[in-house]
Each structure stands twice: as C-alpha cells, then as structure tokens.
Amino acid sequence: MSRNDRTDPSNAVDLSPKVADEIKYTTCYMCACRCGIKVYMLDGSIRYIQGNRDHPVNRGVLCAKGSAGIMTQNSPAKLTKPLKRVGPRGAGEFEEIEWEEALQTATGWLGNIRKTDPKKLAFFTGRDQSQALTGWWASQFGTYNYAAHGGFCSVNMAAGGLYSIGGSFWEFGEPDWERTRYFMMFGVAEDHDSNPIKMGLGKLKGLGGKFVSVNPVKTGYSAIADEWVGIRPGTDGLFVLSLVHELLKADKIDVEYLVRYTNSPWLVIRNPGGADDGLFARDANGDPLMVDSDTGELVSANLAEIKPRLIGEADLPGGGKAVTVFQLLAERYLDPQYAPEAVAERTGVSADNIRRIAAELAHVAFEEQIEIDVEWTDWAGRKHDKMIGRPVSMHAMRGISAHSNGFHTCRSLHLLQMLIGSIDCPGGFRYKPPFPKPIPPGIKPGNSCAPDTPLNGPPLGFPTGPEDLLVDEDGEPMRIDKAFSWEFPVAAHGMMHMVITNAWKGDPYPVDTLMMFMANMSWNSSMNTRGVMEMLTDKNEETGEYRIPRIIYSDAYYSEMVAYADLVLPDTTYLERHDCISLLDRPICEADGAADSIRQPVVELDRDVRPFQSMLIDLGARLGLPGLVKEDGSPKYPGGYPDYIVNHERAPGIGMLAGWRGEDGKSWGKGAPNPQQLEKYIENGCFSHYEFPEEHRFYKMANKGYLEWAASVGFVPKAEQIVLQIYSEPLQKFRLAARGHGDRQPPERHRARVDAYFDPLPIWYAPFEGTMIDEEEYPLHALTQRPMQMYHSWGSQNAWLRQITGSNKMYIGRKLAERLSIADDDWIRVTSHHGNIKAQVAVMDGVNDDTIWTWNAIGKRSGAWNLDPKAGESQKGFLLNHVISELLPARSDGHRYSNSDPVTGQAAWYDLRVKVEKVTGDHDAVSEPQFPTLPTPTGLPQRPAILKYGQGFRKEGGKP
C-alpha cells in the first residue's frame, strides 16, 4: 500500500469555527435533577448546550436528556395558544382563545368556588418543581385539596427518612463518594440525582470501593456493580433486617454512635393495654428519659456526658415500667425469624450471601474505619479533634419505596445505617442541606377550610399523631385524595394517584374544578390508565354534567392529558422562562454546601404561551388572594414570577432564593429582598452555592456550628441536637388510637390495619397485592425502569431521543422464556388481576427469575405528542400502567383500599403481580390496548418529514 506524508491541502479543515455570539447560563429541566447549563447562542438559535463546570450539581457534565434540549425546544408538540374545549371531553377538539378569555374563565370558575367552598378546587401538580409557589398558592386560595406528585413517586422514601433520621435518600442525601469503601444501592435505575449518582459511581469505582446493587434487574447502574443481588421484588426489608440480625448476633454495631446520636437509650413505657404503652417515658418538661448508669437515676435524655443504660427495665416515678429502645430492637431483630436461612427463600438471596454481605459490611465499617483530622464541636459544646468515619454508604429509591411495605423497608435501611454508625459521617450517607430537620419536621397540614379564607397552614405536612389528621368527627377523610385520613395517616406528599378516582366517585365528596399542572394523568402517571380516561369523560346521568365538572390543565406540550382538559393554559419551555429552584422546595444542595438556582429565558418566545408561575400569580391576583394583592386590591407582584421570586417573603428575611439577600446583597439565607438578586444569580451562572467550612460538613445532626448556622437561615427552628429516631413515637401514637385510646380513633374497619402497620420499630410484611391474589395464577412480578435517556412521557417528542428508544419491549428471563417457549420478538399477553396488555418480548439473562420488566412511559397514545399516529411508541410501545390498579382487590367486607402503602399512601407500582402467555395464531403485530387516535389540535405545526438542524451554522450567518 503506498503512503503519503502530508495531509492533502485540498482537505484542509477549519479548526476554529465560531461557536457562539453569546453564551447564556440557566438550569436544565429535561428532568428534575436540575443541572446547570451553558447555552451557546449563534445567529439567534441554540448552537449547543453544555454542562456548567462550576455548578454544584453536575460539575460540567450533561446527560442524554439534557444534551437533547435543542430538540425539545424544537418539538412540534409545543402548545401554541390557550385552548377551550369545543368537542366532547377526551376527543381533543379545541378552539384557540385569547389569554384574557382564558384567565377570565378560570377566574370565574375558581372565584365561585372560593366564595362558597374552597375545597371544591382540587389543585394537583406533577413534576413538583414549583411547590414552594403552588402549595403556598393553594393555601392562600383556602383549599387543602392540593398535592404534588410525591404520593405516587417516592413519599415512602421521604417519610421513612424524615421520621427516622430527619433526612432521606431521594435527592435529599448522598453517599460520601470520595471516601466510601462499600456502597449498597437498593432499587435505583436512575434517580432524581441522575448526574450526581453517575459522577459518584465513576469516582467510587475509580477509588476501588465495592459497589453492591440490590435490584431484580441487572441493567444500568447494576451493570457496573461488583455484585448484583437479584432480589425478589418487595422483600428488601426482610433482607435488610436479616443483615441487622447478623450484625447484632456478632455485636458488630457502633454502640457509641447509637448512644450519642440515636434514641436507643431512651426509655419506652411498658404498659400493655395502657394509653401510654409504647410512648417515651418523659420528665416534667417533656424530655424523654434514660437511666444514668452511674446513679441509676432517671435523667433527661437531652443531657450530655451521661452514660445511659442500654439494657434493662426501669421503674418510673409514677409507677409503671419502661425499657430502653435498644433492648426492644435487640429483642426483636435477634429473633430467629430474621435469620438468613429463614429469609433466604422468600428474598431469593442465599443465606450464605446474606451472611457474607453482613460480614463485609462489618469489616468495612469497623476494620476500615477512617478518621479525618478536622476539629469540630458537638451540640453539647464538646470539642472533638477528629471526625470518625464508617466508610459504608447506602442509597435507595423507588425499588424500595414503590411498594406497599416501602415505608418500613426504608426505615429498616436507616436502622441498618444507624446501627453501624454511618449516617452523616465521613464515608457514609450524608445529609444535603436543608437536612437534617427535626424528626419529623414540624410542619402540620392545614385543616381549616372556609369561604374566602386562606388555609390555616400549608396543605401538606408531617402528622405526629391522630390530632393532626384531616378527618371529620366520624373519622372519615376530609381531603379528596384521603391523605392524612385513617387509611393513610402519614401521607405527607398527598395521594395524587387517587384524586381522579375519588373525585369521580364523589368519595368523600365531589369537586367542582380539578386544576392540574405538568402531570400526564390520563396516561403514564396514572394507574388503571383506561379507567382514568373513562372517569374523566364519565357523565352524571341526572344532570348530564361531567362527574368531574371542570378540568383546567397547564402543559407545555401536546401530552395525552391535554385532550381531557376543558381549559388548556399553555406553558413555556424551560428555556423560555424564569424559574427558581428554591430551598423552600426540593433543593439542589450537595452535602458540602447549600445551593439554589434560577432559570432565565435564553430563547425568545415565538408563541402565545405564558409561564405557568406568572400566570398563576396573575390568576391569584384576579381572585384577590391575600398574599397576592395589596391592600388596595392591586396585584402585589405585577412583574409576575421574577417579581415574586425576588420580593416575596415566606418569613421575615426568608424568600424563594437564599443568595445575595439584603439591600446590599451581601447576606446569604436570610435578609431583606434585594432588587438586584436575579442579576446577581445570572452573573454567577444562575446559581448560588454556600460552601460549608470543613468543621460543619459531618455529624450535622449534632454539630453545634452547623446547627447554629442552620437555625440562623431557618433550616431548623433551634440549634438543638437532632436525635435519630430508631423507635418512632409518632407511629406508636397512631397505633394506640387504633387500640382504643384517645379521643380520635380510627373507624372500626381501619383499626386492625392501623394497629398492624404503625409499628414503632421497622417491620416487614408481604406486599399487599401478592397476598390478595392467587400467587399460583399470577406468579410473576412486573416492574418498570426509567431509561436514562428518556424523561417519563415527555422524552418521546424529542427527535433525537426517540431514535434511541422509540418503542419498548417486555424483558423476561431466559429460564421463563424457555419454560413458555418464548423467543425474542414474540408477542405475549401480560395479565394481572386488573387487566391485560399485549407486548413484544426481549429475552435476557440478568433478571430475577420471577420478574419481568419494561422501560417506563415509552408507550404513547396514537396521535399524542404530535407524533405520527403510526409511530412505534403507540404501535409497538406499551404502558404497564394498564394492568396496575389504583385499588387493591376487595377485602372480605367489600372495602377496597388504594393500592398504596398503609402508612404514607405511596402508590405501590411495583407490587404488581402478573401471568404471561404467548400470543399464538395470526394477529397483527401491534401492542394492546390501543385507543382512538388523538387529533392534532389547531395551532400545532406540521411534523417535518426531515430535520437538518444545525445546517445553517456551517455557513457563516446562516440559520438552522
């Protein structure tokens, strides 16, 4: 072969083409991770979106979704103008209207409701990035029928954590990626912390830590784990408590940590049948008590330096006996029912593996203890010359929480972490500010609802006993979703997945208007999707009116839900509006510092749409909501959301943004509103990051310096130690009520349930659905996973992302496939107690033998998202949701509970049980169910047949 020595000059390349006229910073919202982005603008269009290297969340990286932002901005599914329904609901027949008419209509509907009975407005939001505003708005309006998507998302995770350690997994905490030597990940496919987790895993593996993934499916993160534990869905609690059992037997626990930071020495009253049974023994000031081993006296558990007894019964002054929390936990978890061999079969994890993993945990926690030489002062003012670390960390998400036993499983995980002393220590799990919070946080759900008056508190909160429930004198639910009722007492995030069903039934009462924001409730966010569509369109025989009379919906794109709205309020895209990611909402902090951020418009609006938040503020002003109008009734925030972000104060000096507060813009966290605040954020890349001094970075629950700072910025009410709650007294209070104590007791039909599931110590029980169907008939578990490159339903409108995943298959294990003689691309029918779907198969090795799964939310309804009606998403793709019921099978007395966790009301998506049959004979290769094709509403552009985005950038001055 002949060779040449020079690159032919005729092939010269332009090595330094111009890449931007202007670079604008903002915050990504292709998912809820909220990374910082750098948008290169060229010739007035987006040339390139890059991660912001300075941003605390993503440090310059960008995921597939974020990188595809250009194509979402370019989507032909973008709504273009307010729409008024003209045809029957669900038919997708609309007429374009002006904003003034739209807002007047909404004001009319909502005005009447507020004057008469504010709770008749049910206001629910999906992607909850504006809760700080929407929740506040709802309480100003005066309805407690408000929630975001947390109830069907991961409230078990949040509540399990907030009632145990005052923090949580989810995106509220993170492993100490640099130092951890042993990392266990439970049930995570992607997480909200998409990029941070990926960055962390890369770091962790690079530094040689062991990564164990507990997950029925071996894809994504699990694929790079050292060890994959292919557990049976719904049994993690059992597995974890078995690890606890092993550690206790071997006394491989951090007793010092337990004594210092948890309530394990606290005394629990032992008075079977008594009204105080299982409550903490307290002194006159209400302080919990413990036994001072030197004197044998009962002393306040808040005292330092005491050496409390861990074991043994104590006599209480007023008579009666009490025993330590530690003794209760030891007694319970040493029980042989938690022995590895006892749980092996159920969990599908061999006894040997459970023993080994326990041994590995103990080894790393105690033999590989790390110390960092940073002086710090604890809550009692004692100086410590170093920070001790147990380099074992854990993270869990919906694989744990999306089960009806998720709350307790999550508590079990935190128990395990506490036992080995690895919460907020170097190498362990770390709180992200504003956590840790008091356990649970001291916010109670508002419960008063009167015409023309705001709610007496926020709509959502953390009940600590029956007195905080939203139930009427008969103990029946007050909220439309039945959150904070005896059925779901600790439904801290509400129960959005029940709203439509309950509103349709008029149980507990009918609503007048259902207002929703950013939630595809007639499709991927609902269980029993077909049923939901029917309920949304069902009419009342007598009146001929829809059972849910009015539906207002705000979406930015033509999702499946749009067709079911009477009034559509089109939103902007994330690149066209101001937003704020507030510490009052779901923050973007990381363990070493607190952070918040904003979005600013980077591309000009080319449609007659309005930012939802500004629109909501306008609507509120038109309704004359207290917080939104001045005395003279004029709008308080004429500048819309940006105005509100800067000038609204939740508490004196505390507003939506923490950075650059005070007239001089010099204070962080607390300070008077600063008119220059947004400019400051923009100068700084649209975020503010307050880094903690070294000595505040660990043991935050007992770190004097940190707690004082946290109190000063309002993260915690007082600079007091936050004692981790292994034993949860609030749970016991509900249980006591179920046992007939107190003036607020559950109705008879709920007593046994409350009694059973409000155990103050973590328990495991089989997920409900499996116990209520015939396991012989429905032997399989069916799950979904987030594809890393798709965000729920909204990724499919993206021309680039849908080339990667344009349809989904049902993945089944090789053994199962052979048993049913099913091969790749065969079609199967998947049937649950609720219904069935038809799907195409892919066979794989790395999946639990009794589990099948698919990618979440890829299936689309034909015609939605301005996709071709014959697009793969609707013809080959499918939703598992059709076979998931929002209600459990009927109990003997006919009552049907929501398919949810009995404590928190978290939707139990992953309890699903199914059977699989091969579809034989001739059938067209189309997934089922299919629904009538949705028409493309007026105003949406033609779908292009070909895309040449970027073409223009190649020639100077051209347009893409």
Binding site: Y48, K205, R355, Q789, I946, F953, R954, P960
Partner: protein, 251 residues
C-alpha cells in the same frame, strides 16, 4: 489522497472504560448535539416524528450480556454497556477504498475525515469499516463520520478546558478519555497500559487508535475485600441481652 500516511505526528483517539460505562447515552446525544451544527453539519434526521425515525449519529451505545462462562466471568451473566464511534484506525481501509480521495487520514493527528466536497456517496468506505463508524447522510448524498471533534479540540473560540471531544466532556461517569495514544507517556497511554486496554477485532488488522478498557474483575467473594465469609456469633444465645448490659458509653 486516500493513501494512508506512513506515520502520523500524533495518534489522537479515545479510551473507553467499559468497567464504569452505565449506558446512559449522554455521549451519543451530546455528540449529536455538537456535531449537528459542527464540521459535518447537519446530521440529518429522517422521518423524525414518524415510524421510521433514523438519522446520522457518530456515536452509539450498545448493551451486551456476557454469560459469565469465560475465565474472567463470575459464572453469572454480566451486562456491559458498549459505546462505539470511529476508532481512527491506523490501517483504515475505509480510506484506501475511497475512489475519490474524499476519505483521508490526517498526518498531523491521525484523525480520519471525509471531505464532503469530494465525496460521491458511493458508500464503499462504510462497507470497508468493520466497526460501523461511517454514516451515510442520504439527503446530503455524502458520507459523514466521527471527526474526533476536530472543530473543538483545536478551537480557539473555546476555553482551553473545553477543547476535548463533546462525548468526553459530557460523560457523567468519566468513562471516556481523550489524548495522544502515540505518546507512551500520555495519560491515555498509561491508562491503557495499566488497565489492559485492547483493540476491537484485532484480527481485522485495522490497528484502531481508540482503545477499550475491560470491565474490572467483579469482587463477589468476601476475601476480595479482605473480609470473612461470615460473622462469629458473640452473644450468649440464651441470654443475648447480657452482651450489652455493661456497654456503658457516654452520650
């Protein structure tokens, strides 16, 4: 000229770490995003919202399962995410088969490129590439391919730190590395050295510049991390609580 350089001054290329790639597709999409407006713009997409969506991509992520029966296997299957783009081969037949001189390998850095003004769209180069790294843009009638982000890596309009391929700078787990594989002292060469980096289809003799780092041996034995296989019971099983009766530590 489609004759290959005798030697190249540098061997710029990528090193891809299969041990930590989680298959997130970030590199593929960020590549698409950068290059859609870059040297080979546009990366045309056909039927973008229809049933036959397809387009020009320079980087793609496959997912494989290896059944674990091999000598480095654990007995059970292992899932491996596998990104693949042009490997900028030394003996790149994609270049030598080109009848027009449109395909060429740069002497300066070994980057293999297509000169779209010369390309007649005969597709022969894509037939000659074992790795599926050539992308025919049907609507433009020319062949396109990974440029190793030649319009980034030397681009004076970008900050120094950004002068790396888009796929490398965006990878959330840092599974992608860029550098001169011709220089034995470069970080990438050392990485390849230490981690046993290898060539895809070595038997084809194309001498790819890009290297792949194999998944690390999975540690599933307690001994792998120096732990015991199980813990000894130290409590007195008849009276377990005794164990902690005298454990008195101050709060």
């Amino acid at each position: 000229m489609t004759t290959l350089p005798r030697t190249t001054e540098k061997k710029l290329g990528l090193v891809i770490d299969l041990d930590i790639c989680v298959g997130c597709h970030a590199c593929a999409v960020n590549c698409k995003e950068w290059n859609a407006g870059g040297h080979a713009a546009p990366l045309t997409d056909l039927d973008p919202y229809g049933p036959d969506q397809t387009g020009v991509w320079f980087n793609r992520i496959h997912t494989f399962e290896a059944d674990g029966s091999g000598d480095c296997g654990t007995g059970s299957s292992q899932t491996v995410h596998f990104p693949k783009s042009c490997l900028h081969c030394e003996d790149a037949a994609c270049v030598t088969v080109c009848p027009t001189g449109a395909s060429f390998k740069r002497v300066e850095d070994g980057i293999v490129l297509v000169n779209e003004d010369k390309c007649i769209g005969c597709k022969l180069c894509s037939w000659a590439c074992p790795y599926g790294a050539r992308e025919y843009d049907a609507s433009e009638g020319v062949m396109k391919k990974c440029t190793l982000c030649i319009d980034r890596i030397y681009n004076e309009n970008l900050d120094e730190i950004d002068r790396v391929p888009a796929c490398v700078s965006t990878c959330p787990v840092s599974a992608r590395h860029f550098g001169d594989l011709g220089d034995p002292d470069s970080d990438v060469s050392k990485l390849v050295e230490n981690r046993g980096g290898y060539d895809l289809m070595e038997e084809m003799g194309y001498k790819p510049t890009n290297k792949y780092l194999p998944p690390r041996k999975r540690r599933i034995e307690a001994a792998d991390i120096g732990a015991a296989a199980s813990l000894d019971t130290v409590i007195d099983t008849d009276n377990p609580l005794l164990r902690w009766v005298d454990r008195l530590l101050s709060r």
